[in-house]
Amino acid sequence: MTFDNKTMKLTINYGQTTQARTYYLTFTLTDGFGKSQDTNLMVVVQEPIKVEIPVVEEIVVEEEILLTPNVSAKIESISTVGLMKIEFNASMQTGFNLSLFNSSVMDLYIEPAYERHEEMGFRMETVNFTWKVVSF
């Protein structure tokens, strides 16, 4: 704040990004003997600039699996003589030539328990197999 005989400058500083508004006030001071004196007062008010901060709404997207019906599958069973049945939760397109289902369409393999395939002397060919789609 600065002050002299005729002008008082008052600055209100909010300490942040501000914009100023200036007001000019004139006071007429009169004493009891009829003598008067004009005094100008300038008031500068700095106001914070309103900064529009974009609000990003948080959108929670649930797992697609929960929102839309999907086609799922599971290995229903494998018999003791190696007949594996795959079940789907919906009717599937069929009528393919079954010989098209080869290793370029899907892979099948055994994961040995106890990670014994990493042991010395384990031969992976002992759990190898061939496969053939017999119905779909």
Partner: protein, 72 residues
Amino acid sequence: MEIKLKFNNPVAISPFAERDKMVLHIKQVEYFYSPEVTRDLHRYWYTLRTKIKKQVPDDDTTNSLKESAATS
């Protein structure tokens, strides 16, 4: 869908208490389309796993044993 597996050595499958796992991984999903749902198999199910029970040879001996067990 049914898939016939022919093991090189059936008795080598799940020989211990903990069973081996069969893994089926689908690489070409276009063969797995459902007209009912109008979409392909969802990616969550591209790889299927299950434990596999002990295997026996699929031969005449096994079949005759099965038949005798069924008739006894």
